[in-house]
Symmetry: C2
DNA sequence: ATGAATAATGCAAGCGCTTACATTGCTGGC
DNA sequence: GCCAGCAATGTAAGCGCTTGCATTATTCAT
C-alpha cells in the first residue's frame, strides 16, 4: 500500500524536471521526439528519483508487454534447458522478455499456465508439442495471442511448429540398431498420452521393425515418466524377460541414463550384454559411461529460430510457418552389435 | 490493438449479467460477499463470454500481483531445479505465481532481471547467494519489495537467508577426505568472485587442512565456471602435477562429473588412483559411475521453507528470519583411502 | 406490521501510463 | 518583419479493474 505511495511515478519525474508527463514518457520510449536539453533534464530527474516505470500501467496504456511466455513440461532435467536458453537470448536481442513456467507434464496445469500467461499479457506463447485440448487454440485465437509449437514438427497442425520429425528420427536410430543384428528389441518410452513426441518415437521404432521385416508388435514397450529412477526400474523389468532383449531404445537420455545405471548395478556390460540408446543428446549423454549413442537434436537452433518466428508472428500478425530441423544419430559407446547367443 | 477490442472486459460481463462491474469483481475475488443467485448469473456470463480478467488492470487497481520472482544463476543444470520446484509448489498452494529468470552467473544481468521483476510488480523476490552490489538492496528497500536469499546461510547479512553453511559443509567433507590419509588435495571450484557459496566452500576446505595440521596454502585450486567440460579440463591440469593430488574436491557435482569423465578417459581409476568428491547431491551424482561421494543439500526443504518465509514477509511486512539447514555427507564410491605411493 | 440492523449491490474515483490531438515556439523564405 | 509550416511540448482521455462509501434490499426482534 505505502509501496506505491513511496515509489516515484511519471508525475513525480515530470514535476521534478518541470515538464509534462507526456514529455517524460517520450523521453523514455521515443527519445528522438524530444529535444536534447529537455531529455537531459528529464533523465536527471529519473536518476535522482530512482524512477522505474510501472509495468502494469504501461501495459494498460500501450497494450503491448514485449513479453513472450513459454511453458515447458519440466525444468527438472536439461532436456529443454539449452533450447530455451537460445530462445531467450534471441528474444532478448529483439527486446522481449521471456516468462517461463513448467507444467510437470500435466495437461491441466499447462492449460492453467497458458491462461495465466495470457492474462499477464504475453504477446506470444511457446508451447511444447502438439497434443493438447483443441479448445486451448480456440481460446488463444480469440485472445489473439499467437502461439508456436516447438520440439515437434507436424505440418498442417493447428499451430505452426518448429522441430524435427520424431518418428523419422527414432526410425533411423532403430534401423541402425537392427542393422547391428538386434532382433529382440525393447523400448522404454515416456508416457505417450498427451505427448506426441513420445508417441511418434514409438511409432518410429515400429516403422523400423516393419521395414526390416520384423514384427512391430514384438517391440515390448514400457511407458513411464521421464525420470532416472523410472528408467532404471523399467530396465530391470525388461531385462528379466527371457530371452531378454539385446537392445533397449529409450525415449530420452534421462531414461537411458537410468537404464544404464541399472544395467551396471546388475553387473551387465553395456554394450556387450545389452545395448542402450538415448534420445536428445543432452550433456548427460556424454557424462555417463559408456557414453550414450543417441539422437542429436539441434536444441539451440530450434530455440533461436522459434524466437525469430514467434516475434515475426507477434509483430506482423503473420500466421507463422512450420519449420523442419534435422536430427542426426551420434554414435558413442552404448550401442554395439547384438550378442545373439 | 483489436486484441483488446475483442477480448471481453468486466464491463461486458456486467452488462450481460445485468449487474454492476463491482458485483462481477466481487464474484471473482470474494464470492461470499455476493448472493448465490447473482453469482450464478455472473458466472454464466463469464462462461458465455469466455472472460479472462486482465492482469495488468487488476494489478493497477489492487496493487498486488500475487507474483513472486526468482532469479537463479542458471537453468542449464539441475542444481537449482529441485529446490525451485518445491519453492513454486509451496507458492502455488498459497495462491502465488512464480516467475523465474536466469542470470547466467552474471551480476549485471541479475541486476537487470531484478529491476524487470520489480517493475512487473513482483510482490517478493528470491535471490541466490549474498554477493551482490549493495545498492540493489537499497533499491529493493525503496521499492518495498522484500527479498529472501537462498542457498547460503549468513546471519546478519543484508537480507534474510535460508540455506546451509557452505563453509562448514565443505570443511566437514574435506575433513573426511583427510581422514582417509589424503594429504595432496586439490580443488576445482566455481568462480568465487561474486559467488559466496564458491568462496565459502574454498574457505571450508582450507579450514579442514588447517585443523588437521596441513598447510592450507598447499591446496591447489582451479576456479572455473560450472560446466562439465570445465571440470574435465581442470582435472586434466591438476592431475598433470607431480606428484599429483590423490583427492580432488569439486565445487559441485557438475564439475565432479566432468572430472570423473576425464579421469576415465585418461585411464585412471576412481577412487583407487584418485578420489573425487562433489557437492549438492543432484541426481547426476548417482548417475555417474562410480557414484559421487558428495554433500547432500536439502533442496526441497530449502525451497518450500523459502516460500513460506517469503510469503510471510510479503503479507505481514515482517523482516524475515534467517534459517539454517543441515547438510550431510553422502558416501558413495568416488572417495576412497589415499594411495600415497 | 415496523424500524433497526445487516447484507447485497451500485457508484465512481482512481491506479500510472501512453498517445491523439491541441497548443506553443521556432525556423526561414519572402 | 511576417507568417506558413514544422518541431517540441502540453492536455487530457482513456486502458480494465478494485474498493471505499452510498444506496437499496432483506431480515428479525418487537
Amino acid at each position: 500500500m505505502s509501496k506505491l505511495r513511496s515509489a516515484p511515478t511519471l508525475d513525480d519525474v515530470a514535476r521534478q524536471a518541470g515538464v509534462s508527463t507526456a514529455t517524460v514518457s517520450r523521453c523514455l520510449n521515443a527519445p528522438d521526439r524530444v529535444v536534447e536539453a529537455t531529455r537531459q533534464r528529464v533523465m536527471q530527474a529519473v536518476e535522482a528519483l530512482g524512477y522505474t516505470p510501472n509495468f502494469a500501467a504501461r501495459v494498460m496504456a500501450a497494450k503491448r508487454t514485449f513479453t513472450i511466455g513459454a511453458i515447458i513440461p519440466t525444468m527438472e532435467n536439461a532436456i529443454f534447458a539449452r533450447g530455451l536458453q537460445a530462445f531467450q537470448e534471441e528474444l532478448h536481442k529483439r527486446g522481449y522478455t521471456l516468462l517461463v513456467s513448467s507444467s510437470a507434464y500435466r495437461p491441466e496445469v499447462e492449460e492453467e499456465q497458458i491462461r495465466t500467461l495470457v492474462a499477464r499479457g504475453a504477446d506470444g506463447l511457446l508451447l511444447i508439442g502438439h497434443d493438447r485440448n483443441p479448445q486451448i487454440h480456440d481460446y488463444l485465437e480469440r485472445q489473439k495471442v499467437p502461439a508456436m509449437v516447438a520440439w515437434s514438427y507436424i505440418p498442417n497442425a493447428r499451430a505452426p511448429s518448429i522441430g524435427f520429425d520424431n518418428r523419422q528420427a527414432m526410425q533411423a536410430l532403430a534401423d541402425r540398431v537392427i542393422g547391428l543384428n538386434h532382433t529382440r528389441i525393447a523400448m522404454i518410452s515416456g508416457v505417450s498420452e498427451g505427448n506426441d513426441r513420445a508417441r511418434l518415437r514409438i511409432e518410429g521404432a515400429r516403422d523400423a521393425l516393419r521395414k526390416r521385416g520384423l514384427n512391430p508388435d514384438s517391440l515390448s514397450i514400457i511407458e513411464t515418466s521421464y525420470e532416472v529412477e523410472n528408467g532404471a526400474e523399467a530396465f530391470a523389468r525388461l531385462i528379466s524377460q527371457s530371452p531378454h532383449p539385446t537392445a533397449i531404445l529409450c525415449g530420452n537420455d534421462v531414461l537411458a541414463a537410468g537404464a544404464l545405471r541399472q544395467a551396471q548395478s546388475m553387473g551387465l556390460n553395456v554394450p556387450e550384454d545389452v545395448s542402450i540408446t538415448g534420445f536428445d543428446d543432452i550433456e548427460l549423454a556424454r557424462i555417463v559411461s559408456p557414453a550414450l549413442t543417441t539422437v542429436h537434436v539441434p536444441h539451440r537452433e530450434m530455440g533461436s529460430k522459434a524466437a525469430l518466428e514467434l516475434v515475426e508472428m507477434v509483430e506482423n500478425s503473420t500466421p507463422g510457418s512450420t519449420i523442419r530441423l534435422q536430427t542426426e544419430i551420434v554414435e558413442r559407446q552404448s550401442l554395439g552389435p547384438a550378442n545373439n547367443s
